[in-house]
Symmetry: C2
Subunit: 220 residues, 2 copies
Amino acid sequence: MRAPRAPEQRFESLVDALREAILTGRYAPGTRLVQEELAEAFGVSRIPLREALRRLEGEGLVVISANKGAVVRPLSPKDVVDLYELRLALESLALRRAAERFVDLRESTRRRHAEARRAIAARALPTLFRLDRDFHADVAAASDNPHLVAALGAQWSQIMRVMHAYFQVEMYPEAVWDDHEAIVEALAHGDGEAAVNVLTRHLSESRDAILAHLRSKVVT
Amino acid sequence: MRAPRAPEQRFESLVDALREAILTGRYAPGTRLVQEELAEAFGVSRIPLREALRRLEGEGLVVISANKGAVVRPLSPKDVVDLYELRLALESLALRRAAERFVDLRESTRRRHAEARRAIAARALPTLFRLDRDFHADVAAASDNPHLVAALGAQWSQIMRVMHAYFQVEMYPEAVWDDHEAIVEALAHGDGEAAVNVLTRHLSESRDAILAHLRSKVVT
DNA sequence: CTCCGCTAGATTGTATACAATCTTCTAATC
DNA sequence: GATTAGAAGATTGTATACAATCTAGCGGAG
């Protein structure tokens, strides 16, 4: 029997579970979300489930049409371009602020790099996603600007959906993790511009890899 | 008798009405939002009202604690600084993209300037807010990046709350509207950097006016 | 006087039930 | 055969009712 979880967190857990299912592609972009099915799957009634969908609608992960129901927000190639462009602007700001404060993320980044090497060898894509997300979450937090953290969190959710939809293990070469190390090295020396330069190239490469992959597969 | 509004839009109307009440300060930051009262006020039952609150929670306008209820998200002086910093980054990106496309907003901006002169004379603060919001919404749309538009929309909602909480008519001198004209002039010539320069000063002045006003009034 | 602990009232959380709407399938008409 | 009308089923929207939780006020112990 499962512990019936402290009621104070029941709703947040529901939202987190649903969000995670969307980010990891278990409910892929465009998927119809039928209330009764989801309620059953998550062990709640439709009332709290509907509230959770409204929350995710506010976060931009779900689209709800009156009397038609909820759908996981679709993703197009243009979304990929737009998201990366926006993400670069947000993350650059985060890096500049973090650099001003000489934030040092070298230790945790090095640990993640080691773990990433093992994950690459094991071709454990979900682990790589998590490590990547953790790194960029650290950078966001280092900005000391909660509104920026929130905005980056929303963007990163979208990026996660893109990755789970389109990424291959091949898109996570060692170089990615070297870039992370270069970024935190620049941060530790207070050189925000150097960090931004690495990030700019880093994101371009990610984006182009995804777009190339898209072009090779989809005709639309 | 009020027209019972097409059901397809009932929920969106409810959300819009609630959001507007929050943005205009009718429900000021920190205000407790009691479900039964709001449901009564907006002519719906608690079920759709709760969903609307969840939506606004996702948008960052409301904070909901389990079993304690909803509160209009509080605002601190640091929020003002953080929001303006974030807004500058987002709006700069929008200006650069708009400039690349040689978007011409001069006509509508000139019309708004004229209307603003009348509003200043009449000390019609809400009108000035609307005109300001409309201008920056136009700039956002000109970026042709829906994700950026959404992010800027969320930021602007917060800025509106700040303005309604702290702004005075004196903070809307003619110069503000001259800045808008200078920005669209630069845009029309494809000079994104010039537009960003004006915007940077524009936002600093706004922010500093608010902070000065805060320091003169509040001791916290 | 202060600090607990308790009860009554207020408020939030959600299950159930039903109304409203949409979707799909069938069948009749042209 | 294509098209439209209609009805049955599926699904969403919300009111009602009740359970769970919190809050405020009161009285007693220290």
